[in-house]
Structure formats: structure tokens, C-alpha cells
């Protein structure tokens, strides 16, 4: 189930990346305000999934669970760093912010893929 929550963070991270790109192109501040909140929301979901996945690994040690957990952990940590970068004022967010957003989207996508695959295997 936590894989579904982790996967739910992905569109928020994607939204943040799109908002960052929009800010980079337009200098309209509202875009990084959106981006900051999207990252905060994504971290909330990813954090929940991370906790749940960690408990799962400790209890049942399913195969592939460790890879998923590490991917999720990397997503969360980089996502958190990205949140701090987005807390800088105005253009100080860039270009680090948009680069991190892109990396986090890739990580979150892979983590979600691995996690959902595991979930499907178990469900089948």
C-alpha cells in the first residue's frame, strides 16, 4: 500500500519541476511559490511511504524491498534538500532548484515503479 502513497508523491514532484521551469523562463515569483508547496506536499507523502516501507522491511524483509527503500530514501533526502534550496529568496533558488527538481522526479519515478511492481507481485 505504501507504494501507492509513494507513487502519489510523483505527480507533485513533476508539478514542482514544471513550476521551476516556468519560473526560470518567466521570472514570475508565483511559480516558485507553487513549486515550494508542491515539494512540501510531495515530501509529506514520500515521508509517510518511507516510514511505512521501513517498518515493512524490518518486519518481513521482502525481496526487492531494500532497493525500493533506498530509492525512496534518496528521493526523500534530495527532495528535502530541494525544499531548503527553494526556501532561498527569489532567483537564489536557481539554477540548483530546477536541477534538483529534475533529479528528484527521476528518482521518485524509479522508486514508484519498483515499489508498484513489488506491490503487483504481492497482489498477484
Amino acid at each position: 500500500m505504501h507504494a501507492v502513497i509513494a507513487a502519489a508523491a510523483l505527480p507533485l514532484f513533476v508539478g514542482a519541476l514544471l513550476a521551476d521551469l516556468a519560473y526560470s523562463g518567466s521570472f514570475q515569483i508565483q511559480w516558485i511559490n507553487f513549486s515550494s508547496w508542491l515539494i512540501a506536499g510531495a515530501l509529506l507523502l514520500a515521508g509517510l511511504a518511507l516510514l511505512w516501507a521501513a517498518v515493512d522491511v524490518l518486519r518481513r524483509r521482502p525481496r526487492g524491498g531494500m532497493v525500493y527503500l533506498l530509492l525512496l530514501l534518496a528521493t526523500f533526502v534530495l527532495g528535502f534538500v530541494n525544499a531548503l534550496v527553494h526556501a532561498r529568496d527569489a532567483w537564489a533558488t536557481m539554477p540548483t532548484g530546477v536541477a534538483l527538481s529534475a533529479v528528484v522526479v527521476v528518482l521518485a519515478a524509479i522508486a514508484s515503479g519498483v515499489g508498484l511492481a513489488g506491490w503487483r507481485r504481492r497482489a498477484a
Binding site: 532561498r88 532567483w91 537564489a92
Partner: protein
């Protein structure tokens, strides 16, 4: 003959260069100050440097003043005193209130708001003017009245042409003061509306020229460095000149991030201000400053700081504005947060006879706290002439903060009045007779 002149010119130039080198080398390094402060490269980690004041009671302690001076609290339990004004009969008016309330736009706004509020008083702002009176002249202000209430975060105060002017956070208003009264007879009249949308920096500082024809209002920026959008910065970060009779306003000087106090130098009748410069570029950047306010000058915010040093955080930037940026007169320690400015009056004992008293509210954007004291910048011939000296200190002890100076006012009877918005006290320092 021509060769001799040339040699002479070269010798003079060499001597001048050597002299200026020597002078630069011997400038005392007691914190950042003066006309040529060191400007380190901008830096910002993942988190801004922070050191938030941890409030504590005075518990019998009090601020320290120079030898030969005494200080005492003349009013306590005020509702966040900010600026003070000495009326012609010696009564002291205190502006009390808390303004602002800018909307939370980002997770950072929310978290930073929580953190910074820990370093301020929990008391609710009074939105009023309190009048203090020492009828018998013994230095104890036994009389205390609420002169006017239901104001909107009053801050700047000025008395000119027999009228009392108050800069609320949204309007400049006028009271028809009658000598000796302890309560305003009528509600104030609005002279001019002031920019108040968002009000990130809400304080409106105020000074009046000698004949009361023009008033000068300091209006702070709506952000640290444009992070609420540059559209929000129209009519912000500047000093307005207001026609006292008609209420007509015009920008007098611009690019002043947060001009928190204004005062006229008594010898030259020149307008001066203290300005809080931008945050999150490192512990020693950007210096706050004391400067004469030159008509029409652009002091840099948001595009540049301390002359044409571009701030890369502002996009789109503006090279023309960067190049047009003038350098302020006198740097004060970065992040020390000057909020009070008053010029000395003849008759005070040396070295406080000529110069500016400056209330430093104290830093947050710095691990090692700075400010939290009242300093004195000596002047000579209407210009700063040396390094600042401490006037009132001891607002912090054992890692705790007991008080934070705001407004500083000179009492013509020979006293320095300091408002303290953490312990909600007004202090009065006098030289021993």
C-alpha cells in the same frame, strides 16, 4: 621648469597614495563601520545563518551606560513601545503597536514566522500613544496617560508647526496638539495615505523639516529581496516627501530597503536615515547603514548594494539601476538592525556632544549576535568623523536577551530616551551633574 613640476606632481601623488594606504591600514576594525566597509563575497548555505534572541526578564539588571551617566526605566509595561517624541513642554510621547501581518506565501514564510516570533514580546501591540510627564523635573515620570488610541500600528512621530504628526502603518495623520494636554481632543486628521498593501516591512518612519512645511516618511520594502514579486515593490523602499499642507507626496530618495528612522542633522539641516539592508548573503553582508538622504538618489535596493554591487537574486536584473546606485555615507555592522536615530544636542558631555545616537535592535541572520545596543557615531562638521562607540549596552547577558532598543530621542534637558520593544520599557539616560 616643466620637468621640475612633473617630478613635484609625481612626488605629491606618491605621498598621497602612501598616506591613504597608511590611513586604510590604521582604521580600527571594531566591527564593520565607516565609509569603506569590507564586503565579503555573498554566501548562503542550505539554511540561512540564524541566532534568535532568547528573551528573559531584567531581574534587577539594567542596561549599562558610559561612566558619568546613569540610566533608569521611566515607564514599563507598555504595549510594544517603538518610537518616542519629546514635546515642547518636556512631555514624552511613546508610539506603541505591532503592524505587518504579511500573508504566508511559502512554507518558509510559515516556519520563519514561528522562529522569529520567539525573539519578540508576546504582548499585543497597543495601537496607541502614551504620554509620560515629569511635572517636577526630578527625572521620575510620575504622570502617564493614553494620549490617543485606536491608531493603526503608529511608529514615526514628529512635531512641527504646532502640530503632532503620527505615521501609522497605513497613513500619515495629524493631531492639533494643545500645549499641556494629556489626551487628544479629537480624532486625528489624515494628511496622506501611505503604501500599506502586504506591509512586509510595516514601520513608517517620520521626520519634519524645521518650519513644518514638508514631512519625510520612510517606507520599507515589501520583501527581503523581491521574493514577493517586483510588482509588490511599487512605492516601497524609499523616502517620501509629503507636503504638510496639501498631503501631496513625491519620492525624495529611492532604493532604501528599509529606512527605519529619519532625522535632521541640526548643524547642516541635512536629512539622515538609518537603513536595514538585505539578508541571507552571509553574516557580514550587506552592511546596514547611516546615510544622508540625497534628493533624487538611488541607493540600490533591490538591484544592488553598497554602490554598484549587483544582487544576483533579483530577476530580471537592471544594469542601469545597478550602475546608478550611490554609496551610502557610513556602514553599520551587517544585520545589527538600526531602528532608532537621534542627533546629539550641544551641551552633552564629550564625546557625545556632536554625532548620532543609533538604536540597534539586534540581529537574527547571524550565528554570533550583533547589535542589541545603542551606539554613538561621532560627527564633525555635519559628517561622521570616527568609529562608533557604545552608548547603552548590556541588553544581553548569559545568552539571554533582556531588551531590544528601537527608537532613540534626545531630550533637550540633556537626556537620551530609548524605547525597548522586548521588555516594553522606556529608558532614560542622563549625564551626572
Amino acid at each position: 621648469m616643466r620637468a621640475a613640476l612633473k617630478i613635484g606632481a609625481v612626488a605629491v601623488a606618491a605621498l598621497a597614495a602612501t598616506l591613504s594606504y597608511v590611513v586604510a591600514q590604521t582604521t580600527p576594525s571594531a566591527g564593520q563601520h565607516g565609509a569603506n566597509p569590507e564586503l565579503p563575497a555573498p554566501q548562503r548555505g542550505l539554511l540561512p545563518d540564524m541566532g534568535i534572541a532568547e528573551p528573559a526578564g531584567w531581574d534587577g539588571r539594567q542596561p549599562t551606560v558610559p561612566q558619568g551617566w546613569t540610566i533608569k526605566a521611566i515607564a514599563t509595561d507598555l504595549k510594544i513601545p517603538r518610537q518616542t517624541l519629546v514635546l515642547p513642554n518636556g512631555d514624552i510621547l511613546v508610539a506603541e503597536g505591532r503592524g505587518g501581518g504579511a500573508p504566508v506565501l511559502t512554507p518558509k514564510d510559515f516556519i520563519a514566522g514561528l522562529i522569529k516570533s520567539k525573539g519578540t514580546t508576546p504582548v499585543k501591540g497597543g495601537n496607541q500613544l502614551t504620554l509620560l510627564r515629569d511635572a517636577d523635573g526630578d527625572g521620575t515620570y510620575e504622570g502617564r496617560w493614553v494620549y490617543a488610541e485606536n491608531l493603526n500600528a503608529p511608529y514615526g512621530l514628529a512635531f512641527a508647526g504646532g502640530k503632532l504628526f503620527v505615521a501609522n502603518q497605513d497613513a500619515l495623520v495629524r493631531f492639533d496638539y494643545v500645549a499641556g494636554e494629556t489626551r487628544a481632543a479629537a480624532a486625528p486628521v489624515t494628511v496622506a495615505l501611505l503604501p500599506s498593501a502586504i506591509n512586509h516591512h510595516w514601520t513608517k518612519s517620520l521626520a519634519a523639516d524645521a518650519d513644518g512645511k514638508f514631512l519625510y516618511v520612510g517606507i520599507g520594502s515589501n520583501s527581503n529581496i523581491g521574493e514577493r514579486g517586483l510588482a509588490m515593490e511599487e512605492h516601497r523602499a524609499l523616502v517620501w516627501q509629503v507636503d504638510a499642507a496639501t498631503g501631496a507626496v513625491r519620492p525624495f530618495a529611492t532604493g532604501l530597503r528599509n529606512p527605519t528612522a529619519l532625522a535632521f542633522e541640526p548643524g547642516t539641516r541635512q536629512l539622515w536615515t538609518v537603513v536595514n539592508e538585505r539578508d541571507e548573503l552571509g553574516p557580514d553582508l550587506v552592511p546596514d547603514y547611516l546615510s544622508s538622504v540625497r534628493e533624487g538618489a538611488f541607493y540600490g535596493w533591490p538591484y544592488a548594494y553598497w554602490g554598484p554591487n549587483a544582487d544576483p537574486r533579483v530577476k530580471p536584473g537592471n544594469d542601469k539601476k545597478v550602475q546608478a546606485t550611490v554609496r551610502p555615507d557610513y556602514a553599520l555592522q551587517s544585520h545589527s538592525a538600526p531602528l532608532g536615530l537621534a542627533f546629539a544636542q550641544p551641551g552633552l558631555p564629550a564625546p557625545f556632544a556632536e554625532g548620532a545616537f543609533i538604536g540597534l535592535h539586534g540581529s537574527w541572520n547571524r550565528k554570533q549576535p550583533v547589535g542589541y545596543k545603542v551606539i554613538f557615531v561621532p560627527f564633525s562638521g555635519g559628517k561622521p568623523s570616527g568609529p562608533p562607540v557604545d552608548f547603552a549596552a548590556g541588553f544581553q547577558a548569559d545568552g539571554k536577551t533582556m531588551g531590544r532598543p528601537v527608537g532613540v530621542t534626545l531630550d533637550p534637558k540633556g537626556a537620551v530616551i530609548v524605547a525597548d520593544d522586548l521588555s516594553n520599557t522606556v529608558w532614560r539616560a542622563v549625564p551626572a551633574r
